[in-house]
Structures are given as structure tokens and as C-alpha cells.
């Protein structure tokens, strides 16, 4: 929050017109997340209160649910919130309406990636997508190579910062430099393709 009275401050305008909203967004996300209870949200704020990272989010989990219900598609999918969620499930367990908020967050992540609407250089979705393609290829995840790819795509300089930790891990035998593979890696891509194709394009 700006503190100095001498800082140059500009007046900003914030109003939302109905035409900007996507009225079916709430239903769509609710269906994806098996979350019809989404609509029972009383906006109590328990989720935000218990979420360990809610104070870093641009929109708290409670606000996200309200925005999903009302169709604020662009704002929600562009938010950092859905990527900050660490899936600790505290919100899901505490919610007095038993809304599966974590599943809603996953649905939003999936929707964001599927529609290409998300902060592209934000580290979290980058990691998710790298992990995803790595496992699809090899059947297993290799932490070392994954982290290298991740840093190259987000912030190559931070590789230097982490170099000493990587070295220590390697000396203690805790770092895999090569890609772990299954005996039959092709099995995973066959499996995934068949599951994806069954029943059309999912929900």
C-alpha cells in the first residue's frame, strides 16, 4: 500500500459490466470440480482464514468462490491465487458448507491451462506443465532434470543461487542427474491417451 503522500498517485477506475462476465462459468467450474455445493457458499471467510498462504494471494479463496459464482472468468483465471494454492486441503476440511474448495482450485488450474488464460511466466504453472510432460514421456519424474528445465524457463539466474544446494544434494546421493525411466515408459502415454479419448472431451 502506498505510504508517502508525495508519491505520484493516479486515480483508477474499477467497474464491472454484466456483459464482461461469463454467466455459465460458475456452473461449468462446479461441474468440473464435482462441486455443486459451490453455490451454497455463505462467504464466511473460513477458507481464507485457515489458508496458510491467503495473505499472499491477490484474491483470497473466498473471493475466488464469489467471483466464480458470478462469472468473473478472466479475473479468476488470470489470478495468482489458483497457482499459489498448495493443496493443503485446510479450506476443504474447515468449510462449514463442505465445499471442496481445493478441487475447485484444481478445476480452475485445469481450465486456465486448457483455455490458455493464465500468467504464462508465473513459476507454478510452468513447473506443473514441465512435470506433466516429463511424466508423460518417461512414466516417472526426475527431480534434477525437472528443476533444471524449470529454472531455465522461469529464472535462469536463480540456478546459481541454488547451485550450492544442488551440489550438496548430489554429494549426499539425493539428486538424480539423469532422467528416471520406467522399464516400459510407453505404457503411460498409451494409458493416458486411452483414458482421455474415452467419453469424448471429458466433462
Amino acid at each position: 500500500m502506498p505510504t508517502s503522500a508525495q508519491e505520484h498517485r493516479e486515480v483508477s477506475r474499477k467497474i464491472t459490466y454484466q456483459s464482461e462476465l461469463d454467466p455459465g462459468f460458475g456452473e461449468h467450474i462446479a461441474k468440473m470440480a464435482y462441486g455443486e455445493k459451490l453455490f451454497s457458499c455463505i462467504q464466511c471467510g473460513t477458507c481464507s482464514g485457515t489458508c496458510p498462504v491467503s495473505h499472499y494471494m491477490d484474491f483470497t479463496p473466498r473471493r475466488i468462490i464469489a467471483m466464480v459464482r458470478e462469472g468473473f472468468r478472466t479475473d479468476v483465471l488470470n489470478s495468482l491465487t489458483i497457482w499459489l494454492c498448495a493443496s493443503c486441503y485446510s479450506c476443504t476440511v474447515e468449510c462449514p458448507r463442505e465445499i471442496k474448495i481445493t478441487d475447485v482450485m484444481y478445476a480452475l488450474k485445469q481450465e486456465a491451462i486448457a483455455t490458455g488464460v493464465y500468467p504464462k511466466r508465473f513459476p507454478v504453472p510452468v513447473l506443473a506443465r514441465e512435470f506433466f510432460s516429463g511424466v508423460e514421456r518417461n512414466g516417472r519424474n526426475s527431480e534434477g532434470p525437472l528443476m533444471v528445465k524449470f529454472f531455465l524457463k522461469t529464472n535462469p539466474l536463480s540456478m546459481l543461487k541454488n547451485a550450492s544446494m544442488a551440489f550438496r544434494l548430489w554429494t549426499k546421493g539425493r539428486l538424480s542427474l539423469f532422467e528416471e525411466k520406467m522399464r516400459t515408459p510407453g505404457v503411460v502415454s498409451t494409458l493416458l491417451r486411452a483414458a482421455k479419448q474415452a467419453g469424448g472431451n471429458g466433462k
Binding site: 455463505i42 464466511c44 473460513t46 481464507s48 485457515t50 491467503s54 474447515e94 462449514p96 458448507r97
Partner: protein, 674 residues
């Protein structure tokens, strides 16, 4: 009364179909139905009219009965629950036995549930035809009159029971007020002040309590419970178990010398009235204004009663010789005509929500504990001293504990917002601390309630709209050390906040009593899914139950505040008075009866009756149905292996003719319409 046997076998039927405005006529072609029914055998008159239940509508029936010498009436309109009584009365006024009337529901069962007018009309014709065939076989019946005993039993001596008892006693009726605890007063006696007026609860309650004690028409039995009940409306036989106080009640004057003299020099046992915040001795009076003003001995902690050996210093100290350790349970049998249940509620137990820290952190309190804490005759004399001896500078009040939560109770407990405001005011007044109310919604619907909220806002109490997930003691900086921390989203301001507190108050919700199911079985009423007693109709009959003669009042029916409780108690008293002053009650004659000659004495029916109306006569070896208890459910009729139980208004041939009436058209047309 017109005698149908005088019309040479074929009855003369009048058929009337109601438009009900457009409710029925909008979907069903009422003219066509009237025309069609007019062609049936036995139908002398067939009319359609806009509003049959209106005066002109009823007069139509009465005129036709007189002029056309009708002896059967069929009306096709709405649900019998609404107007069966209306039309039966109209029939009776015209001189015809009201049970020669049959009603057909073509609104709730046809026009309100079907959209295809052609099919709906055909269905209406079928149902009307069936009724016409059935009504051929109706018999004249007379409702049974049962006298009402004017005495009333009120179960529960809280504010609801007290008010109901006083109202009835002032009307000149005799009331037995039975209360399980050693004193009347209920939860209200434990409160400090009441919202929104901040009246002292004891000051407004105790005059009513002593009025109860001194009223000549009230028999007050405290420390007593109803142990057995049988009978039916107007004629209940009740057994009351009086638990032993080990004191001769009429001799004790409450001087409390025995308490001072007790072998336990210090009080050692949790004091129930102060919710465990202070201690009492085995012999005690619950609170200074307890009514009756009589001590009692706790058999679990009194050495004489538990172990049989004590110096009995209490007996030495009592100069009126009231103490009697040989007392046992006493059973009293009484007869009453009506019963009012006012058994109250149970406060939600916050050990079910361990994340709020109750029991883990000493300075987390329940609302009821705080009522005692701020009360001048409470464990700390009204000074807010915490369990660790400190005085709080920051107090948090958490709303909705055990309410509005799928994991505990789904409902809103209605009074917590108001009492949370009240406690905020009292705590601020007593301590000068910063007070924070953490709420989801502020529910202030009653008279003066919103104004009370405004008063609190003006007093500078902090209102943070955010439901608390956890009360914890992990501190993020030095200022938070040693405090109870609440991390919450302030949803209105739009930020996550951490609020360090010295004291946390949990606004616990209201639940049904733990033994609500046992009580409702004893009194033969129902509970709703949440466990509160079930009213007959949520809007139009909130104090009646489905059992005639048993009424409910107050928080046992659902969470409610004192004004509504008193109103309900008055309403229940009025309902009881209505029965008593009418002197008798008319029972619907759709009861079952046994054909004695056919009964084989197999007793299959006896355990089936949900209303315990069937008994077995040992001398005759036949079953017997008590008409007054029978509700006409038909279970025994269907179950009797020898077919020797018959039900008025639902005799086999009546039902079969109705079925024939439904199917006859199909048989003729070869089932083409199906």
C-alpha cells in the same frame, strides 16, 4: 337425518365440481367433467361452480339436498385437508349425515401436477367416477365425544413452562408443573442480563417463579420427571417420579445451616449452576433464589449416601429435623387432560469443535460460562477474572459455534448474534477491554434488536465479518506471545488479520436436549430431522403436535429467544384452554373396530398399532380397540389374518367399489386409454 334406506336402494347423489378460480379450471375442463358425471347411475344433480367453498357454493349443496332430496354428496375440488370439514358441516346443516359426503382432490392431485389438459380432464373424470361409486356404500356415522379433564401437566419449569403454568392457573385450571432440576428457572435463571433491554434476568424471572410457588392452582414438583404415560387426549394417566432430596421439603426453610456444617469444609464438587466455574458441597442449594428454597443432597458425592458412613454434622445443625437419609424415590399418579412440553434446549458442547481451543486453553469460555462470570451472584462476584487469574484487555467473541455448519449443526441458532452483542456490551462494561465480535452475518430481527446492534457499534466494539477457523497460541512476533491468536479474513475490509486476545468467548448454538428422542417417545409425539420436537404445521400450528392434547412451547421446538418463548407458552396455554373450556373433543369416526365374533384372539394386531390403541381382553380372549386412541391408520385392518377388523369410512366394499369405479371405463373401452 334423511335415511338412505328410504330411497329404495339407489342413492340420490349430488356431484359438484369446483373451478377454484383458474387453479382447477385452468387445466381441467370442469364443464365436461360435470356433464359426464351427470350421466352416471345414481347421480341426480351435477353442477360446476367457481368457488364451492364459498357461502353461495355451500348453499348450492344445501338447497339441492332439500329440494332434490339428495342423500349423497360428492365434491371434486381441493385437498380434504383444507375443506372436507367445510363441506361436511354444510351437509350436516342441511339435515344429512356428514359422512355421506365424499371429497375428490382434483387440484393437488390433478390440476396442480399435470400440464396436459386432455389427460388431466380424463383423470378428473376417473377420480370423480370412482368417488361416486364409493359413496353409494357410505354409512351414517357419528363422531365420538370424549370429555376433557381440566387439569394440565406442564413438563419443564423454565420460562416457557412457568408462563404456561401461570396462564392456565390464572384461568382457574389446576396445573402440575414437573421440573427435572431441583429448581425451576431453567436457562434463563443463569443469564445475567437479557437482550435487548438489558433487564436483569433474575429480576424479571424470580417474581414469576415465586408466583408459581405460591399459586393455589399449581402443584410444583421439582427434582421430578414423568416416568410413565398412558391415555389419550382429555384423559391422560401420568406417573411422576419424584427423586429423593433426602430433605423433608415442607419442613426445610432454606437456612443452609446444614451446608455450613457439612463434613466437607471446602466446596469441592463442580457447581452445575455456575457451569463448573465454582464448586459446591454435596448438600447445596442451586442458587440463592432457587424455587423451592430447599436444599438437596447429591447422592454421588455425599459420604453418607455414597458410603454409608459420615458424622452427619448436617443433621446436628438442622434444628427443624428436615434431613432424612432414608428417603427413596416416590411415584405419584395423576390424571390430566392436556400436556404442555416445555423442556428447553441443550447448549452446544464446544468440545466437538476442538479447533476453537475449549478445554485446551484455559481462557477460552463458552457463552453460558461468561453469563455466570459477569453475574453479580456468579463465581467471581461479577468481576471478569480469567481462569489463570488475569484480567483481559482484549476479548474475542466467536459467533456461530456449532451452528450453520454441516459438520456440527446445519441450522442457525437464532439467538447467538443477539447474545453475543449483549456479552460484548457486558464484557466491555466490566473490563474496559477491546472487544472483537467475529461473525458471518448479523442477525437482529426482533423488536429493538437492530437498535441494540447500533448501540454496540457506538460503544466501539469491533465487528469483524469473518468466520474463525482456529484459536491458537503460536505467535508470530513478541506482541503475540502468551496470547490466544485468531487468524481471520476481515471480508468487509478485504484483508487477512491476526488478532491477539486474552479471552475468547464461544457463542455456542442451541441443540435439542440429549434425551429428546426418549421424551418424545414417552409423550407419543415426533421429532423433526434436527431433533427438535415437531410442530403440526410450521406456520399455522406451531405449538400443536400431531398428537391431540399434547402441545409444545419454547426452545424444545426450535431455537428461540425469550419474547418468542413466552408468546409460544401463552399460545400453548390457550390451545389447552380451548380444549378444556370446550369440555369435550369430537373424534373423527374413521376408527377401526373389531368384529368380535370373527376375532380369533391371535394378537397379531396388538403390537402393530403405532398409537397403542389395541389391547387384548384376557377374559374374552379378544382384541379391543380404544376408539379414542385410534387414528385410523389402517395397519391393523390390513394385517388381521381373519379379516375381523373393519375401519369406518374405509370398509372393504367401499374401497373395492372405488377401485371398480376407477377401472370401469377402461374395461368398457378395452383399456385403450392406457
Amino acid at each position: 337425518m334423511l335415511d338412505p334406506s328410504a330411497s329404495n336402494g339407489t342413492p340420490r347423489i349430488g356431484f359438484y365440481i369446483c373451478h377454484c378460480g383458474t387453479n382447477i379450471a385452468g387445466t381441467v375442463d370442469v364443464k365436461a367433467v360435470a356433464e359426464y358425471i351427470g350421466t352416471l347411475n345414481g347421480v341426480v344433480v351435477s353442477r360446476e361452480y367457481k368457488y364451492m367453498c364459498s357461502d353461495p357454493g355451500q348453499e348450492l349443496i344445501q338447497q339441492d339436498i332439500k329440494e332434490q332430496k339428495l342423500d349423497r354428496i360428492v365434491v371434486a375440488s381441493c385437498s380434504p385437508l383444507l375443506h372436507e370439514h367445510t363441506f361436511r358441516t354444510a351437509t350436516e346443516k342441511a339435515g344429512l349425515n356428514p359422512f355421506f359426503f365424499q371429497m375428490v382432490n382434483i387440484r393437488e392431485n390433478v390440476s396442480w401436477v399435470h400440464t396436459d389438459p386432455v389427460a388431466a380432464t380424463e383423470k378428473a373424470k376417473d377420480l370423480a367416477r370412482a368417488a361416486v361409486r364409493r359413496v353409494f356404500l357410505h354409512k351414517p356415522l357419528a363422531p365420538k365425544k370424549v370429555p376433557i379433564n381440566p387439569a394440565v401437566l406442564v413438563v419443564g419449569g423454565g420460562i416457557a413452562g412457568i408462563h404456561a403454568a401461570l396462564t392456565l392457573a390464572n384461568a382457574g385450571k389446576h396445573v402440575y408443573l414437573v421440573e427435572r432440576e431441583p429448581t425451576i428457572g431453567g436457562h434463563m435463571a443463569m443469564f445475567d442480563k437479557t437482550f435487548p433491554t438489558l433487564d436483569c434476568a433474575a429480576c424479571i424471572l424470580t417474581p414469576k417463579m415465586s408466583a408459581v410457588k405460591s399459586h393455589p392452582n399449581i402443584t410444583l414438583w421439582t427434582y421430578s420427571e414423568v416416568s410413565a404415560l398412558e391415555g389419550f387426549v382429555g384423559n391422560y394417566k401420568v406417573q411422576v417420579k419424584r427423586k429423593p432430596r433426602y430433605i423433608k421439603e415442607d419442613l426445610c426453610v432454606g437456612c443452609m445451616e446444614c451446608v455450613t456444617a457439612c463434613i466437607f469444609k471446602d466446596a469441592r464438587f463442580p457447581d452445575e449452576f455456575n457451569v463448573g466455574l465454582s464448586k459446591r458441597k454435596p448438600v447445596y442449594i442451586p442458587f440463592p433464589q432457587a424455587t423451592p428454597q430447599v436444599v438437596l443432597f447429591d447422592p454421588e458425592t455425599c459420604l453418607q449416601l455414597k458410603k454409608g458412613k459420615c458424622k452427619q454434622t448436617c443433621i446436628e445443625a438442622c434444628d427443624r429435623e428436615c434431613i432424612d437419609f432414608t428417603q427413596t424415590e416416590e411415584f405419584k399418579d395423576i390424571e390430566v387432560g392436556t400436556i404442555i412440553l416445555a423442556t428447553g434446549f441443550k447448549p452446544f458442547d464446544p468440545s466437538k469443535t476442538p479447533y476453537y481451543g475449549y478445554g485446551t486453553y484455559p481462557n477460552v469460555y463458552t457463552a453460558l460460562e461468561v453469563e455466570r462470570l459477569v453475574n453479580a451472584s456468579g463465581p467471581t462476584g461479577g468481576e471478569v477474572v480469567l481462569r489463570d487469574g488475569s484480567h483481559p484487555k482484549a476479548v474475542g467473541i466467536i459467533h456461530c459455534v456449532g451452528s450453520r455448519d454441516e459438520k456440527t449443526n446445519r441450522w442457525c441458532s437464532r439467538v447467538c448474534c443477539m447474545y453475543s452483542l449483549k456479552l460484548a456490551h457486558l464484557l466491555k462494561e466490566h473490563t474496559g477491554a477491546e472487544v472483537y465480535n467475529f461473525y458471518i452475518d448479523m442477525r437482529t430481527p426482533g423488536k429493538g434488536y437492530e437498535e441494540f446492534y447500533d448501540k454496540l457499534l457506538k460503544e466501539g466494539v469491533h465487528f469483524i465479518r469473518g468466520r474463525v477457523a482456529e484459536v491458537t497460541d503460536w505467535a508470530m512476533d513478541a506482541k503475540e506471545e502468551g496470547k490466544l491468536i485468531v487468524r481471520v479474513e476481515d471480508t468487509l475490509i478485504g484483508t487477512v488479520r491476526r488478532v491477539p486476545l486474552d479471552m475468547v468467548v464461544l457463542s455456542q448454538g442451541l441443540e435439542p436436549r440429549a434425551d429428546a428422542q426418549d421424551v418424545r417417545r414417552l409423550f407419543n409425539i415426533s421429532c423433526a430431522t434436527e431433533g427438535f420436537f415437531l410442530e403440526r404445521h410450521p406456520k399455522l400450528a406451531p405449538v400443536n403436535t400431531f398428537t391431540d392434547g399434547v402441545f409444545i412451547a419454547g426452545a424444545c421446538q426450535g431455537p428461540r429467544d425469550i419474547p418468542d418463548t413466552v408468546a409460544q407458552a401463552g399460545a400453548a396455554a390457550a390451545e389447552a384452554l380451548a380444549l378444556i373450556d370446550a369440555g369435550h373433543i369430537e373424534l373423527e369416526p374413521n376408527t377401526a373396530f373389531i368384529l368380535e365374533e370373527d376375532c380369533s384372539g391371535c394378537k397379531s394386531c396388538v403390537p402393530l398399532c403405532p398409537y397403542k390403541a389395541i389391547s387384548f381382553l384376557e377374559d374374552k380372549k379378544k382384541a379391543y380397540i380404544n376408539e379414542a386412541l385410534c387414528k385410523g391408520c389402517g395397519t391393523c385392518v390390513a394385517a388381521c389374518p381373519s379379516g375381523s377388523i373393519v375401519q369406518n369410512l374405509f370398509e372393504d366394499d367401499q374401497i373395492f367399489s372405488e377401485i371398480d369405479g376407477l377401472l370401469s371405463e377402461l374395461a368398457v373401452s378395452g383399456g385403450g386409454r392406457l
